[in-house]
């Protein structure tokens, strides 16, 4: 089963001017074309504002497509108690299976003290977190890894595995901590190739960041893996099996 670890719900009010993506229907069609059966879905607009409302939007889509969508919530550590209450609501009311955090868009440092109560609560629920990585100064792989070292029960997925500039330290992070996983959206070929050589295929996960890439975005991200000629075993792990282990599905 092919699972895409990284998809956003673009809604009308959501920062669409930021970069043009495609609509939900367009990108689901694109995922269909790529053979993606399930995908993790989280907000884009809620990373900037109204995170509770954005979590409701994810829940609504989940109710419409329960077989396709693996819903992830988000919460903003700046909101203190309210942020913790939203974690409770995401898990107990909305049925979220994990959390997405985007430190630079949401305006916090991943290793700031604000994050500790948030991570404690997520850890209590045993939920995974997918954290944007690769952008200085607040979303660097080793900063996320430092947090991961303090919460060994939480599986940390490094979205973009450090992107273009910090993939070397993303691999270092994964080598040092077994609860770090690397997700491939937007990462150059050499990064995935090196990660396969240095840590093996068991903790590398396919993601497309759809619909950020626009039309053809998912296909492009998937072709990147195809041309690496992974072989059947590694391909199955990257395209879904690894994520199934994290999510217990």
């Amino acid at each position: 089963m092919i699972i895409d670890a990284h998809c956003h719900l673009f809604t009308n009010d959501a920062a669409l001017g930021f970069v043009s993506g495609s609509t939900f229907d367009e990108f689901v069609q694109e995922l269909d074309g790529c053979g993606v059966e399930k995908f993790i879905l989280f907000t884009i607009g809620g990373l900037f504002r109204d995170f509770q409302k954005s979590n409701d939007e994810i829940r609504n889509m989940y109710q419409k497509f329960p077989e396709r969508i693996i819903p992830f919530g988000t919460t903003n550590p700046w909101y203190g108690e309210e942020a913790l209450a939203e974690i409770d609501r995401c898990v107990n009311v909305l049925g979220m299976k994990g959390f997405k955090l985007h430190p630079w868009m949401m305006g916090f440092a991943i290793n700031s003290v604000q994050m500790l109560p948030v991570m404690e609560r997520i850890s209590d629920y045993g939920m995974p977190v997918l954290v944007h990585s690769g952008t200085v100064p607040w979303s660097e792989p080793l900063q996320i890894a430092y947090l991961a070292s303090q919460f060994p029960k939480v599986q940390f997925i490094l979205a973009h595995m450090g992107i273009t500039d910090l993939w070397k330290e993303a691999i270092d992070a994964a080598r040092r901590y077994s609860n770090i996983w690397l997700e491939t959206a937007g990462t150059p070929t050499v990064a995935i190739k090196t990660a396969l050589q240095e840590i093996g295929p068991e903790r590398i996960i396919f993601g497309s960041d759809s619909p950020y890439g626009g039309v053809g975005g998912c296909q492009f991200q998937m072709n990147k893996l195809k041309y690496l000629k992974l072989g059947k075993h590694a391909e199955a792990l990257l395209l879904g099996e690894n994520l199934r282990r994290i999510l217990n599905i």
């Binding site: 930021f18 970069v19 273009t164 053809g216």
Partner: protein, 254 residues
């Protein structure tokens, strides 16, 4: 015409940004690059140095690139690497590379070479490139030394200079590329390592397809992967020809 070019509906494909040589993470002999080009249907490519050839051993690197270009004149043009920290020596090496080694332009990598793209240190090298009339390719997208707006600033300071913004902002700086570069005619954009197809599309819409050039950054990225990124944009035939070969053909004569 290669089958791939035919499938894409273009007359030919030229890759404006490839590497040969060794660095701590990659090792690409020329034969590997040629095989990749043949498989991807890429007729010609512009090559430049990596690793120590790019950063410290510039003479050795330029001799190496020049040797490969002379061995395969039908397939390659080469860019010279000089590190501006060498001062006068860098200026002389650029001159030697263009006039004696028949290299075709200058490649700068502010992050690896250790300077900020628009700082005074690099001015003598830029001025020499302008005297020689060659294009200047600059890596972009990496804070804090190689940012698009630093390159825009450099291009505004030197309107007679001819600049190529490599990776056009890379993963994170796509907001700084389409609009600012639309107003600066002496900057061309190179498409490799942009992490989403839509960034290229937005740049083409704002800057125009006559200033955007396909590059793969092989072996950091993969030629076919990078070609797919252009393919999925569904460009008009004219735009596709511009991006996949016509622009680089026009400005480098390759």
């Amino acid at each position: 015409m290669s089958i791939v070019a035919k499938t894409l509906g273009v007359e030919r494909i030229i890759d404006s940004h490839c590497h040969i040589g060794q660095s701590p993470y990659v090792d690409q002999p020329v034969e590997t690059l040629l095989a990749e080009m043949d498989e991807a249907g890429v007729e010609k490519a512009i090559i430049c140095a990596i690793g120590s050839h790019l950063v410290i051993d510039n003479e050795e690197g330029n001799d190496f690139i020049s040797g490969v270009v002379k061995k395969y004149p039908e397939r390659f043009l080469g860019l010279a690497s000089v590190n501006p920290w060498y001062g006068e020596k860098a200026v002389r090496e650029l001159n030697r590379s263009i006039t004696k080694l028949q290299l075709s332009g200058l490649k700068l990598h502010p992050v690896l070479q250790g300077f900020q793209a628009n700082e005074k240190l690099v001015f003598p090298v830029i001025e020499e490139a302008i005297r020689l009339g060659v294009w200047i390719y600059i890596h972009s997208g990496t804070p804090e030394c190689s940012l698009p707006l630093q390159i825009v600033e450099l291009a505004l300071k030197y309107p007679e200079g001819k600049f190529i913004m490599g990776h056009m902002g890379g993963a994170d700086f796509f907001l700084d590329v389409p609009d600012p570069c639309a107003k600066v005619p002496n900057i061309y954009l190179e498409t490799s390592l942009t992490c989403h197809p839509v960034f290229v599309k937005e740049a083409i819409e704002k800057v125009g397809s006559d200033r955007v050039m396909f590059g793969s950054d092989s072996p950091t990225s993969n030629m076919k992967t990078e070609l797919e990124k252009i393919k999925v944009l569904n460009l008009s035939k004219d735009d596709l020809n511009n991006v996949l070969w016509r622009n680089v053909h026009r400005i480098f004569g390759i």
